[in-house]
């Protein structure tokens, strides 16, 4: 058992190293001169060259990689070439914001998707079930940022109930924090909710055909009660898998909603830093995003392995 976990951990560590190399190589061919951007249009070519040396841009790639990744391993993401501050805290702040936003939206999505998905599954042969299912299909087909724009227009600009954007730290002003969170979380959650409800629906349908439900129904339990008593736990497994993947990819996927609502999350930070060619920061952000996904997959995988011993030899 311990051996299995250790081996998995070893594989995980290797994938992280490979991912860091991929990240570094991919970003090392970014065009645009960070030194020129820092100094602006009036600076001379000589000044720009000196600045590039000062920024360490002229060292060999392998040296820059080892220097960077070695420091990352001890928790030092380096210094931003633009803000001249440590990058680590900048990333943690932005990551915190995005994680709050994503988790809130996922909770909202689940609150919507579970009852909605079950309802559409249970009522699937009835007209109302078909209509509800159709609604969720349309929900999947609407771009999330369009939902965001419409929410802003209605609730912020026209009704002036909620702010149109921005972010307030929960420690600073909790009420303000909630006010600023509502619209973006709904915008992000509505589309996710529609997607998830499709999964809930099909999982429930799958489970409802299983023998134990049939037996329960044969014993005289209603479809709903049979489902609630026996089926939902089984239906939850594939939904949870999808959910894990969604959370992981939403970290960068939330960038569009962050842009609509001017939220300084990780995706926005990435776009800003790419625009400024702040290479150490971009590398750090991409690595954090990638490792986050790898770690999440690793944990999900590990959890399944520990729960279901049959999987230990497979995958």
């Amino acid at each position: 058992m311990v051996l299995v976990v250790l081996r998995r951990l070893g594989v995980f560590a290797t994938t992280v190293v490979v991912a860091s190399v991929v990240t570094f190589l991919m970003l090392s061919i970014l065009p645009g001169n960070a030194a020129r951007i820092a100094l602006g249009v009036q600076a001379s070519e000589a000044d720009v060259a000196a600045q590039a040396t000062a920024m360490g841009l002229d060292r060999p790639a392998i040296v820059r990689y080892l220097d960077w990744f070695g420091n990352v391993l001890i928790g030092d993401f380096g210094t931003s070439t633009v803000s001249r501050q440590a990058i680590g805290p900048e990333i943690t702040d932005a990551l915190g914001i995005t994680v709050i936003l994503v988790l809130t939206s996922v909770v909202l999505a689940l609150l919507f998707a579970i009852p909605f998905g079950i309802l559409t599954a249970v009522r699937q042969r009835k007209p109302d079930g078909a209509i509800l299912s159709g609604i969720s299909q349309i929900g999947v087909a609407v771009p999330g940022f369009l939902a965001g724009m419409l929410l802003v227009t209605i609730f912020a600009v026209t009704l002036r109930w909620l702010p149109a954007g921005g972010w307030v730290d929960p420690g600073e002003d909790f009420g303000g924090f909630i006010e600023h969170l509502i619209l973006p979380a709904i915008a992000l959650g509505s589309v996710q909710g529609a997607v998830l409800s499709r999964y809930v629906r099909s999982s429930v349908l799958e489970v409802m055909r299983e023998d134990f439900i049939r037996t329960a129904r044969a014993k005289g339990l209603g479809a709903g009660r049979a489902l609630f008593r026996h089926g939902l736990r089984n239906a939850a497994v594939p939904v949870m898998t999808v959910l894990g993947l969604q959370i992981a990819t939403l970290l960068v996927g939330a960038v569009v909603i962050e842009r609509v609502f001017s939220i300084p999350g990780l995706g926005s930070l990435l776009l800003d830093k790419v625009a400024l060619r702040d290479l150490p920061a971009v590398q750090g952000i991409v690595l954090v995003l990638v490792v986050f996904v790898l770690a999440l997959n690793f944990l999900v995988d590990l959890a399944f392995t520990l729960i279901d011993p049959r999987l230990r030899s497979a995958t």
Binding site: P31, G32, N33, R36, I37, A38, L39, G40, V41, Q42, A43, E45, D47, Q51, S80, V82, S83, R84, Q85, E90, D93, V152, T153, A156, V157, R160, L162, P163, A164, G165, G166, W167, R259, V260, F261, S262, P264, S268, L269, L271, D272, A275, L276, R277, D278
Partner: protein, 495 residues
């Protein structure tokens, strides 16, 4: 004006109880202000970091120089109470305000002047350290008297002193320029988060008149729609310099807001690479001038906002010549003739624009109009600033571009042969040099001659001057209308 604003103010207060633009419950005036801006500063050090965003936030608010530009573009005293200039134009004697301190408590004296200006040459890498090249020596005569001697007379020097390079620093305040600036201004920085906000608090020990607004938050947006939405929903009180003018109309009809239209120094320029094969012939450049219907470009790409200028000179400069706007009327036939005369047919040009909304919109209209005279423009939108600066600005690898030049009095820089426009006229350069050393009247005359020559030789097609439009809560008073300098001067704003 005042009466109408007051009426509107009462009405808006009744209507919009929740907006921050109203008086607080206790009847005390609300002295907090939130301003929405585009383009965030990456850090707060404009001595080594380029871009208009840092001076916009800090100049005149946190940092001050000996002189400043008022809203009409006139040089007025700031830390200098007054000054005299010797007859030969070489020696400037500044009388400094007494009892001024920096926000870290250290005193401002003539030694600070010497320290700050001497530091520019060695330590500044951005925002034009060369502007101070005319200085030969700086002398602290007494605590309140500074004498600056120039190596040659310069008309532009004092003007440039009103910009970032003229900023006064204290040695003890240089430790963390990137996040904790120390100046003599009416505000201090209380927090800064790049990409999000910069919070300013009134400097309790300010030497001059205390500003009305005691707390100002500058919030940064990535697009103009989010910015106007924030104003409409009451999140912010003021937008200085809206960039997408189709968003303005909804405010004109809304009594909760005021729309202030002023002059900027932003010339939206269709630049032609004078050194490229395509545009080295002046006739081809002139053909482009005739082929472009500037009014149509402005109407379509800028919702009709702007001023046709025809040269790189805004009306706020003394050598502005309004007749240049009509130098090249829209005349496609003339354009075709000029192209034929130059022996050019089937001209295809690489039209590399920055991926900014006004440029993307303008380029589509320009491309369409050029096609009508047989010029094919292949439009590529390059990422701004990174790729555009690299390819077009540094490497001159382009035929045509479209970008706004927003620095004040940037026409002299534009004429330099090494500049990206590739315009090479020794006569114009000589005239600019002569102008800088001339007396006040000849200065204006010579500047006018040089800039007119540039327009006649079609060094570029200056499409129009971007207006400076501020959108504000109706109850705000003293919002700066024009943007003659890079600074957003907050000290005059009140409710």
């Amino acid at each position: 004006m005042f009466a109408s604003i007051a009426t509107v103010m009462v009405a808006s207060m009744a209507l919009v109880g929740c907006s921050s633009g109203s008086t607080t419950a206790g009847g005390k005036p609300d002295t907090s202000l939130t301003v929405g801006l585009l383009a965030t500063p990456g850090n707060l050090d404009y001595t080594t970091t380029a871009g208009a965003a840092i001076p916009q936030a800090l100049l005149y608010n946190v940092y001050e120089g000996l002189v400043k530009l008022d809203n009409d573009g006139t040089i007025i005293p700031l830390l200098a109470e007054s000054w005299t200039v010797s007859d030969d134009g070489l020696v400037y004697d500044f009388l400094l305000h007494d009892g001024v301190t920096f926000s870290d408590g250290s005193p401002f004296t003539a030694e600070s002047v010497k320290f700050s200006l001497e530091r520019v040459k060695d330590n500044w890498t951005a925002n034009g350290p060369a502007y101070l090249d005319p200085i030969a020596s700086i002398e602290a005569v007494s605590d309140t008297e500074a004498r600056i001697t120039l190596s040659k007379p310069s008309n532009s020097w004092l003007f440039n002193m009103s910009g970032p390079v003229g900023t006064m620093f204290t040695e003890s305040g240089l430790a963390d320029l990137a996040t904790a600036p120390v100046g003599t201004g009416p505000y201090t920085v209380s927090s800064f988060k790049s990409g999000d906000s910069l919070v300013l608090a009134a400097n309790a020990d300010y030497w001059g008149e205390a500003p009305y607004m005691t707390g100002v938050t500058l919030r940064y947006f990535t697009d103009a729609t989010a910015q106007t939405n924030a104003l409409l929903s009451g999140d912010i009180n003021l937008i200085s310099g809206i960039s997408q003018f189709q968003l303005v109309d909804q405010f004109k009809s809304n009594p909760d807001f005021q729309v202030l239209e002023g002059a900027s120094t932003g010339e939206v320029t269709l630049s032609m690479n004078n050194a490229s094969d395509a545009f080295s012939d002046v006739r081809v450049r002139q053909a482009v001038m005739y082929a472009i219907d500037r009014q149509a470009v402005m109407d379509t790409a800028n919702s009709g906002f702007g001023l046709l200028i025809g040269s790189m000179v805004p009306p706020t400069d003394p050598w502005y010549d309004e007749s240049l706007a009509d130098l090249y009327p829209y005349d496609p036939d003339q354009a075709t003739d000029l192209l034929a005369e130059a022996g050019v047919s089937d001209l295809t040009v690489a039209f590399k624009i920055p991926n900014l909304p006004y440029a993307v919109a303008g380029a589509q209209v320009v491309k369409d109009q050029l096609a009508k005279v047989g010029i094919t423009a292949n439009v590529t939108a390059l990422e701004f600033p990174a790729v555009w600066l690299d390819e077009v600005f540094s490497k001159h690898d382009y035929d045509m571009s479209l970008i706004m030049h927003s620095e004040p009095r940037d026409v002299t820089a534009f004429a330099a042969p090494t500049y990206y426009a590739g315009y090479d006229s020794p006569a114009v350069m000589a005239k600019f040099a002569e102008a800088d050393g001339a007396d006040a009247t000849s200065y204006i005359e010579l500047m006018k001659e040089a800039t007119t020559t540039m327009a006649e030789e079609a060094a570029a097609d200056w499409l129009y001057l971007q207006p400076a439009i501020a959108l504000a809560d109706a109850d705000l008073l003293g919002v700066p209308k024009n943007t003659p300098s890079l600074a957003l001067d907050l000290s005059t704003i009140a409710r």
